[in-house]
């Protein structure tokens, strides 16, 4: 898309008036626009040329409008929603003065014209891997649109001069994302996450140009997804049958909120392990574990030897494929514990019949293979944790392998193996943000690079991106948001910006300001270090 600005001619007069008033009270180093040549831009666009020539935006007259030539406009609620959102970010207060209808002296920049060039405006569609996230910049200023819906970069260029006047420097930007898959995983099973928390974090994702919400919605501890086909799954498996569940309406709302921000929602229903909560509402789904010759009363992974298991999965994933419009489903497949299978005499018998010997990874593969066949009938692509390929399961060519294990050397080797096999790869190992440590750990996340492994160019091209993961053992509504931001922002820039953008000092300077901007917009992003924001967080 293309966006241009209309300028009035008051430029010189205004510039002459900008004598610096010295308030004389502040010698403390505060990060200012001057600290990085790129101001507070985050993530850094692919090409930026900022000049020192400044223009003003009047809260009374400035408007975001559809360009005449644009392929979509007033009837596109996705765009109109974005205009409203960014108008409020840019003018959180001064629009109130606009209510007086007094015409202030004409501003330097009177409007931002948003010009959508792609034939498919995606106004009513869901964002997808093929969404056009790039932008051209013909004029003196321009706007980048994520999935044709974000005015984020433009808003990041606006700053306040010493009189509080909204200003913007003449800037030329060319932009597109380095990776198409820039994800964030949230886990609503270990702790239930209220809708409000999910929405707030989708908002913050958009500010950081993340475009995939990986919703790890169910797991061992609880099953908050309310299924229409199998309502007993959440009735029995959620922490509470109606206060701690996501109804179909909740899910719809979250998907729509994400769509308006160019964010895909990829749901994960992890099997055959991580399914304790499934067993509460679905009799005979899990494997009964044995203690000696008799059932111990506890259960293991999904029971892979019963036809009823596959009947259930077929119906369940048929529902899931319609509830979640995204072209991909994440099928999990990680950390399957074989001890329960080993203890069960029926499983042992089945293993012998199939000629699996004592190799239980063959049984796991047997299950996964049948599950993939089921999901394939729903016309969805799938994502899967790395164990599945480690165990040698046959996969469709367009499967995304999600790498999460090991140390740096190990995950780099895995990325090489996965891409050498011709599969697309997605990296998460260095971005397990649930793991915390004292001090500025965003830097380690910032330094990791998903294409940093031994492989051919063709292999590197198979890397579609990565995901920051915030597993839920130690986070819920009380602490999730400040623990995630701005740490996840480091991953956001790594996945968006050019691979050569790796100056930690420059990033630090921009990130401090980006973090204060998130705080000002209402997200309790935690501080990077000693210092302050002009507008501190108002909550507790």
């Amino acid at each position: 898309m293309i966006a241009t600005l209309k300028f009035t001619t008051l430029l010189l007069a205004v510039v002459v008036c900008r004598a610096t008033q010295d308030y004389g009270y502040k010698d403390v180093e505060e990060p200012t626009l001057g600290d990085s040549q790129y101001g507070s831009l985050w993530p850094l666009p692919q090409k930026v040329q900022m000049s020192t020539v400044a223009f003003k935006l009047s809260g009374v007259s400035f408007q975001i409008v559809d360009a005449k030539e644009s392929s979509s406009g007033a009837s596109c609620s996705l765009l109109q929603n974005a205009y409203r959102r960014y108008d409020e970010y840019i003018f959180p207060i001064s629009r109130m003065q606009g209510q007086n209808k007094k015409k202030a002296f004409a501003s330097d920049v009177s409007e931002l014209q948003v010009w959508i060039t792609s034939a498919d405006s995606e106004c009513d569609n869901y964002p997808s891997v093929t969404s056009d996230e790039s932008c051209e910049c013909p004029g003196m200023m321009f706007v980048f649109l994520v999935g044709a819906l974000s005015l984020e970069t433009f808003s990041q260029l606006v700053y306040e001069d010493e009189y509080g006047a909204k200003s913007i420097n003449r800037t030329e930007i060319q932009d597109f994302p380095r990776f198409t898959h820039r994800g964030l995983l949230l886990d609503s099973s270990r702790h239930f996450l209220p809708i409000k928390v999910i929405l707030a974090n989708l908002e913050a994702m958009a500010w950081n140009k993340f475009n995939v919400f990986h919703w790890h919605i169910v797991d061992d501890p609880s099953f908050p997804y309310m299924s229409r086909t199998f309502p007993q799954l959440s009735q029995q498996g959620a922490y509470h049958p109606y206060t701690h569940v996501y109804t179909p309406s909740d899910v719809k709302m979250i998907i729509e909120f994400a769509r308006l921000r160019g964010i895909r929602v990829v749901s994960e229903f992890d099997t055959p392990g991580h399914t304790q909560s499934w067993g509460k509402g679905q009799k005979d789904l899990l494997t009964p574990c044995y203690s000696g010759a008799s059932p111990s009363g506890s259960f293991g992974p999904v029971n892979p030897i019963l036809n009823t298991t596959y009947d259930f999965m077929a119906m369940f994933f048929k529902e899931v494929s319609t509830v979640f419009p995204d072209a991909y489903i994440h099928l999990g497949g990680d950390e399957v514990d074989f001890s329960c299978w080993k203890s069960n005499p029926d499983i042992q018998k089945f293993m012998a019949q199939q000629g699996f010997g004592t190799d239980y990874s063959k049984l796991e593969s047997f299950y996964i293979q049948r599950l993939l066949d089921i999901v394939t009938t729903t016309n969805k692509g799938y994502m899967i944790w790395q164990e599945v390929i480690d165990n040698g399961v046959k996969l469709k060519a367009d499967t995304l392998i999600h790498v999460w294990k090991g140390n740096q050397q190990q995950y780099q080797a895995e990325m090489a193996r996965v891409t050498a096999s011709g599969y697309q790869a997605l990296l998460s190992t260095p971005w397990y943000l649930n793991r915390i440590s004292y001090g500025q750990d965003w830097q380690a996340a910032y330094k990791a690079d998903p294409q940093d492994f031994n492989g051919t160019d063709a292999q590197k091209k198979l890397v579609v991106g990565g995901e920051a993961c915030l597993w839920g053992e130690y986070v819920d509504a009380t602490n999730l948001t400040p623990r995630l931001w701005p740490r996840a922002s480091a991953v956001g820039e790594r996945l968006w910006s050019d691979k050569d953008v790796k100056d930690t000092n420059d990033a630090y300077s921009r990130l401090i300001q980006h973090r204060c901007r998130m705080v000002q917009r209402g997200i309790p992003a935690e501080p990077l270090f000693t210092g302050y924001c002009a507008h501190e967080y108002k909550g507790v």
Copy 2:
């Protein structure tokens, strides 16, 4: 103090009706009252005998009242404020039904009589080290009062039965704190903490029976304390001269809010190091550092060789001693960097004159000694970080030495040294809660014990308690509260309960419930592990 409950006679009828309704949806382990024999009590009282005999409290008729025999009552706003606060905790919703003035069938427990026995009720005084925090329990139930002002323990005994009816088990409790000084340090210099955040944390402190708010109010990065005598200190030294300062009214409000909760406010004005922000508003206070033969433009610790320094300190601490009513002031004295003093020719000359040789710790002691003399004239006692005694400064016998350095072996040796010298000691080393790590680190804090060192009984008696410290490098309004609670609760119990209370499993079970109670009361205390609260946090 003594408190008793008045019972009606409906007991049996109610108990008979208590058939358990099985909702059939929940097999998940949820910590319940039954998990610990002590329910959700935190910190654990010195002696508890809980029976299984349950009584009900009616939201319509139950009242907290002054016992006839009480030495203070209706005219004591401190008590009346506490009644209101705890009424709201116990009946957050059902009091609304009470508005209907309908008389429900008589409840089992109709009132809680609060009987203050101490001659000095402290209704209008500030809490002090001699405040009576103990309680006797003559009846079948009783209430513990911290500084004659908390109904916390009573409220912790109240639970909801399966119909949501407020219930309480017949319980006998005898209680008093193990240590008189149970402190929490917050740092408002590295990040400014809005009043709202400080008040919320004072509230949580009261729930955890902390009784000292150690306000590390100024430090190198900023000087938010607005001084009437030297207003330029905050005008120049705060992050912002009026949005990031504590006015005299703010300070008063914080002290009063704390007083109503039995919490002392001990302010710390740390010198001669940690004073960069002081130098902005007070010319010639800091030592000019030299680079070779000429001043480098940077400044070091307070300049100890000028009379003007001591004139300033005398006036400044005279003000501080009236603004903060507590009998103690914390004077800091930690981490003095000698390099700047060493570089300065005037200091070198002074060292020679005094015969200090090149031992700069003698210069530090010279400064501290004069400062202590100044503060002594204000009739305040003082607390000081351990370096001061490490450097051999002569101190008043009632000085509190605050131990914060080293590993376990080192701080235990320091506690032994300090008390062997006859000084009172306060431990913080194992409770630097700003240091975070992945997982349940509250357990390490819980296991530390301030009396665990080699020493005589007389030495052990000199240990007055400890303080949890949350230094401000990485916390501000966005993340301070969830990072602090319930981790600080572990320190709260260690300092309150008997030294033999150290069963981590029992503590875990109670702490999970205590944490959910804090969340329900509006404090975003972070989760200890996977699970849920019936009432989740409502914020983001």
